[in-house]
């Protein structure tokens, strides 16, 4: 611990009004021996400030998009600091007030930011205990801390509050060594489920989202959009819009927009703009895209290799070749992208619905040719993100328009724009060749992943001969369409892992059936990892699993995944209407090992949310397009899960307090598609190798399974 020289302390305390501030500058990978996340904060990770009123402010570059990290971060700090959750105020995602952060994605808030925040809080507690010891004239070892009050053990009348200790102080400390954190057995605040601290604002309508920000004199902007991706503007006539009173027209460097003091005025003006576009010719559609993806040259990389696949093939008594496919899937958060930008005194402030406030600030600065220090991004609540709010076109548009017009500007996308500019979960193909020996052991696994990337592609089963290759790993950059896709793709809740788990766990299931072994038993025979065995057993116990080789007709099945450091086993129970081809999901049991659990109820909400969202990509969601034209532009044709789809969901948290907290926002969605596909197989004997399992595909699959059975006699 040392005095912190890295910032202008005087200015800092002018801004904060004094108190005790603790900064931490230490990679959490050092704190916990975690695998280092690429480009995680190099500078200050976290800080907190204890004010003279006894309130604690936590400054975090993370953002709240529903995943509950406002509450879980407060819990972690409260635990280490010895204060009540209620005395903590969270300041999130403000680039001027919070430490740098690369963004909120990858289920990394608790895993990587958590340790830094806890270390800062633990250090703050030491500073406060030292001050209290001086003030009370006792040895620090004799002090006890409860809810921000330090007292002498056995003499409770001798006490001082954190607020009193912080009074008139201007102490800034920098933590640059490993802090001693409380063990799970000591937890008083972590491991419990206090009510979410964003609840009151959200049930009263007071919670502010980007489109709710209203600087005086703000103009609503609508941007002229191409009819299809790849279209080039051939002719433009804005004269009618320009003649309309109250309308400002901007046409600069490819950005054509109309602005008006009210949103309907802006929409009317947009309808007056005449534009003609040259459309690219592309015959690609949701059926032909898969061949295109496989044919498209991409970087090829071996992700996992073990033994020798040629030897595996030689040892195999039976070889199974399957090609799995999945279409594009939209993020479809209920809040479309929005941003409000205000340019004042040479400084640009942008309130944006973004998962990446700091990278967004840098992108805005680049687009506007401003120093990053002259751009401030403030992130209000996000109405859902799921990976989709990290490109920030809307924030750049708002900032450019504010700079051009000199007025505050709101760019709030319509649902149509939201669908059009979504950076979709990519369509993908996974080809697997696997083999069983004559004893029913898997001896070969040779997989090629196209477009889904490496996440979740590595096997956690013990198989002697393995090769996993990826082609065209999606680059989730600003322009990630490349040659493979006609429009941008991007990270979608557990990027790529949903597809990889669907392929892997379908293939395991298929081999279990071929071997005539119960699918749960088959998996256990190929598993030594104790964490996976434990979650599988926990899920089976909670479900009341009855052993039988598939297809058993019972319509129940299992699928497993490892994601973001967490282990999951899902068991799904479905009912099939074979004639109509519909799948009714009746019940899902999910057991998860996520290390130390910060907030059990919050963790369960994320599991339930993940599973529910997973019903969509498994059963219905598949973007329709013709070339670069996006055909689904609203919820009238693009269906996402509704109340009637949601089954009974039972979540089991498998205790593992020996492991630091792992990811929680994504892991439970990963195996959802696979579990449902396997359950459909168990019910009908039809192996559906393409998601989503639409009624048409299911009817075809059932018919094919029937004709196979009758051919087999």
């Amino acid at each position: 611990m040392s005095d912190f020289e890295g910032i202008d302390r005087r200015r800092f305390f002018q801004l904060t009004g004094g108190g005790i501030a603790v900064f931490i500058s230490l990679g959490p990978w050092e704190l916990f021996g975690q695998q280092r996340a690429p480009s995680y904060p190099e500078d200050i990770n976290a800080y907190l400030l204890i004010g003279a009123d006894g309130r604690v402010k936590i400054f975090s570059g993370k953002i709240e998009m529903g995943q509950g990290v406002m509450t879980s971060q407060a819990q972690m700090a409260a635990e280490e600091l010895g204060v009540a959750v209620e005395s903590i105020d969270m300041v999130l995602g403000d680039t001027e007030r919070c430490p740098w952060d690369m963004g909120t994605f990858g289920s990394m808030t608790t895993r990587f930011f958590g340790p830094a925040l806890r270390a800062a809080a633990a250090e703050a507690r030491q500073v406060l205990e030292k001050l209290a010891a001086e003030k009370l004239g006792v040895d620090p070892g004799r002090l006890v801390v409860e809810k921000g009050v330090v007292s002498v053990a056995g003499d409770a009348a001798r006490k001082v509050t954190y607020g009193e200790l912080a009074q008139g102080k201007r102490i800034a400390r920098l933590v640059d060594r490993k802090a001693v954190m409380r063990a799970a057995s000591q937890f008083e605040v972590m491991g419990k489920s206090p009510r979410r601290i964003d609840g009151l604002e959200k049930v009263t309508g007071r919670a502010r989202y980007a489109a709710d920000v209203r600087p005086p004199g703000m103009l609503y902007a609508r941007v002229v959009r191409p009819p299809a991706h790849g279209a080039k503007l051939a002719a433009l006539d804005v004269s009618a819009a320009e003649k309309t009173s109250g309308v400002t027209v901007v046409n600069q460097d490819g950005l054509v927009a109309v602005l008006h003091p009210d949103p309907e005025g802006a929409e009317k003006a947009l309808n007056l703009v005449k534009s003609r576009w040259d459309l690219p010719s592309s015959a690609l559609d949701p059926e032909t895209i898969f061949d295109h993806i496989v044919k498209t040259e991409g970087t090829s990389e071996v992700r996992q290799t073990k033994g020798d696949v040629a030897a595996g093939r030689a040892a195999a008594a039976r070889v199974f070749e399957t090609t799995y496919r999945k279409g594009y899937v939209a993020h479809a958060p209920i809040e479309p992208h929005a941003a409000v930008a205000e340019f004042k005194d040479g400084k640009m402030t942008v309130w944006a619905s973004t998962q990446t406030p700091f990278p967004t600030r840098d992108r805005i600065a680049g687009a506007l040719k401003l120093e990053p220090a002259r751009v401030r991004v403030v992130t209000p609540f996000l109405g859902g993100g799921f990976g989709g709010k990290s490109a920030d076109l809307q924030a750049i548009e708002a900032a450019r328009l504010a700079q051009i017009t000199g007025k505050p500007v709101q760019v709030a996308w319509t649902r149509q724009e939201e669908f059009f500019y979504d950076r979709f979960d990519p369509a993908a193909v996974v080809e697997i060749v696997s083999g069983l020996d004559d004893k029913g052991k898997v001896v070969l696994w040779d997989a090629v992943v196209h477009a889904a990337g490496a996440r979740g592609a590595s096997l956690f089963y013990d198989i002697p001969n393995v090769r996993v290759k990826t082609h065209g790993q999606p680059s989730y950059g600003a322009d990630s369409a490349g040659a493979m896709h006609l429009f941008s793709v991007g990270p979608w809740r557990a990027p790529g892992a949903n597809m990889n788990a669907f392929a892997m766990e379908s293939q395991m299931d298929l081999m279990a059936a071929a071997a005539g072994v119960d699918p749960l038993e088959f998996r256990l025979r190929h598993l030594t990892d104790p964490r996976m065995r434990r979650v599988l057993q926990a899920a089976a116990d909670a479900f009341g699993w009855k052993s039988a080789p598939g297809p058993s007709g019972m319509g129940r099945a299992v699928a497993c995944s490892v994601d973001a450091g967490s282990y999951d086993a899902l068991i799904a129970q479905v009912r099939i209407d074979a004639k109509g081809g519909s799948v009714t999901v009746e019940r899902i049991v999910c057991a998860q090992d996520m290390g130390i659990i910060v907030n059990p109820d919050g963790a369960k909400m994320q599991m339930e949310g993940s599973i529910t969202m997973g019903l969509g990509y498994a059963l219905a969601e598949e973007l329709r397009f013709r070339g670069g034209d996006i055909l689904d532009r609203n919820f009238g044709t693009y269906s996402i899960p509704r109340f009637s789809w949601v089954p009974s969901i039972e979540t089991v948290l498998v205790q593992n307090n020996d492991l630091a907290p792992q990811g929680g926002g994504e892991p439970a969605i990963v195996a959802t598609g696979a579990a449902l596909a396997n359950a459909v197989f168990d019910a009908t004997g039809a192996r559906i190798a393409r998601l989503p399992m639409t009624p048409e595909r299911l009817r075809e699959g059932i018919a094919a399974a029937k004709s196979r059975r009758s051919a087999a006699g």
């Binding site: 529903g66 609840g199 958060p333 609203n634």
Partner: protein, 158 residues
């Protein structure tokens, strides 16, 4: 064409000189600065913009001022009375009936109309009644539990 439009919002009179073919959603959010009502799809598919007109839940993005002339509108901001939260609001907090919160206003207003029409619905009836409202975070089961608790008066527990 500008005309005089009068209605009540959350118990207070609103008196506007404006086009009566404008949609209630934008009038609430801009003219009246009631931003708790959300835009989600603009076509009535998602329910984020739901408010009550009289005892009915309506999609404010599809409702013109003409249709609410002289009527009583209640938005999420008008549910709490004298600082006391509505039982539905308390129940949504107690049962975690929200995640990102963006669909929440519309969910609560839809549930409010549902309970007025059917004070003690079964979980199935609640799910059926809320079927047209979309939630992307997957809080569905907890929303149903919250509405059920509010109907049974259990939502007040904290």
């Amino acid at each position: 064409m500008k005309t005089r439009v009068r209605f009540r919002v959350n118990g207070k009179p609103a008196d506007l000189q404006t086009d009566d073919d404008r949609h209630l959603l934008w009038v609430l959010r801009t003219d009246l600065n009631l931003t708790g009502t959300k835009y989600g799809c603009g076509s009535g598919y998602c329910g984020a913009c739901t408010v009550m007109v009289g005892k009915e839940a309506v999609r404010s993005c599809r409702t013109t001022l003409k249709e609410i002339q002289g009527k009583e509108v209640v938005t999420i901001e008008g549910l709490a009375k004298n600082g006391d939260l509505h039982p539905l609001q308390r129940a949504f907090m107690d049962h975690g009936g929200f995640q990102c919160g963006y669909c929440t206003s519309g969910m609560i207003m839809s549930a409010c109309a549902l309970l007025l029409a059917e004070p003690h619905p079964t979980p199935e009836a609640i799910a059926r009644g809320l079927e047209p409202n979309l939630c992307r975070c997957g809080a569905h089961r907890r929303i149903v539990a919250a509405v059920q608790a509010a109907a049974g008066g259990k939502g007040a527990a904290s």
